[in-house]
């Protein structure tokens, strides 16, 4: 009985404990927080979180993808392109990043503005 109580207590404490101790784990927490605030329309805060995630783990393609989306939403198409390109360099076969980038390029072409390239 005592052993079971100890196990239950340990299990209930699991979600509160840091999921990972490594850089990817910390970066992932930033990414998830960024997603939560972006859903509430707080895109500037999301950008801060996702930038932090890319600093913590510069190989985190998903963080660069999210950052690109946020820059798109803010209208900074140059920064969005750079972030998408970085994400695709890290994960060239990620279909969701590719799809986001294709949609971005459509808008970029429609805008008719040169974004430095």
């Amino acid at each position: 009985m005592i052993r079971r109580l100890v196990v239950i207590t340990l299990l209930s404490a699991l979600p509160a404990a840091p999921a990972y101790a490594d850089a990817r784990g910390d970066a992932r927490q930033q990414v998830e927080f960024g997603i939560a605030v972006a859903q509430r329309g707080l895109w500037r805060e999301a950008i801060f979180r996702w930038q932090r995630a890319t600093e913590l783990d510069p190989t985190y393609a998903q963080a660069f993808n999210n950052l690109a989306i946020a820059w798109e939403h803010e209208g900074d198409l140059q920064k969005a392109r750079e972030a998408y390109e970085k994400a695709l360099r890290l994960e060239p076969n990620n279909a969701l990043i590719k799809q986001n980038f294709e949609l971005f390029k459509e808008i970029n072409e429609r805008s008719g503005r040169k974004d430095g390239r």
Partner: protein, 258 residues
């Protein structure tokens, strides 16, 4: 391992699995603000001056385009729209310069206009569009607005060929079957090719040119008034035209990843 131990291991595995199986992606709506292609900060007014036209005489392309663009700019633009009379560009072309030898677009006989290519029909207007002194004078009279002028070609077209259609049939059990089918069709419609020129009313200098091409084809036995086709095609290019002068927001969705 006893039963209690097994239950504990199973519950631990379940919690671990549940905590790790939340979706790794999320679709989110985004609104991308697109900046205007032209820096319109120096201007407070815009004057849609009129257009050189070529093609069918069934529609007064210049008059209709002036009306439509002014109304759109009034509703969706940030500049005040000047309501002065449109300029009859045809009157400005010297007769000697006109390859139709019968006056400018809008005054030439129909046969002459149809035979001329767009390039030939609009060639005499190039001098006018690049005449800085003329546009500077127009600008001075109208409090130095941004001036919109250019050319509009609106021509009928006929095209025949194979098109793919969906053919609906029902099998003996009454189930609907849709199959692609290639059919030879005679089609007719219109091609609209406007080229908008934006001129600085303070200096007479050309700032920007935007060219479009839109076409529509109908079944040959369908009768569609040319004016209705003209508006259908203008409707398609209006967002891009407006984006030259004012910021717009493009709605879409993207996928956030964890």
């Amino acid at each position: 391992m006893n039963a209690a131990g097994a239950r504990t291991v199973v519950s631990f595995a379940l919690v671990a699995a549940l905590s790790g199986c939340s979706a790794s992606y999320l679709e989110i709506p985004v609104e991308t603000p697109i900046q205007p292609k032209l820096d319109i900060r120096p201007f407070s007014r815009v004057f849609v001056a009129g257009f050189a036209t070529a093609g069918t005489d069934d529609v007064d392309s210049s008059l209709e385009a002036v009306r439509l663009l002014r109304s759109q700019l009034r509703n969706k633009g940030t500049l005040r729209v000047v309501d002065a009379d449109a300029i009859a560009l045809g009157d400005l072309v010297p007769r000697d310069d006109d390859p139709a030898a019968a006056g400018a677009a809008g005054t030439a006989p129909e046969a002459a206009q149809v035979e001329l290519s767009d390039d030939a029909a609009f060639a005499p207007y190039e001098k006018i569009f690049s005449d800085r002194e003329y546009w500077k004078k127009v600008g001075e009279e109208l409090q130095q607005p941004l001036i919109v002028t250019g050319t509009i070609s609106f021509r009928p077209q006929q095209r025949s060929g194979f098109v793919q259609r969906e053919r609906e049939t029902f099998d003996p059990l009454g189930r609907r079957i849709v199959q692609p089918e290639r059919t030879y069709m005679e089609r007719k419609g219109f091609v609209l090719r406007p080229s908008f020129i934006f001129i600085d009313g303070r200096t007479g200098e050309q700032l920007h040119t935007e060219t479009f091409r839109e076409e529509v084809l109908y079944n040959a036995n369908q009768t569609t008034p040319p004016l209705s086709s003209f508006f259908e095609l203008m409707d398609r290019l209006l967002p891009s035209f407006l984006n030259t002068l004012s910021a717009q927001k493009v709605r879409g969705s993207r996928t956030l990843l964890k």
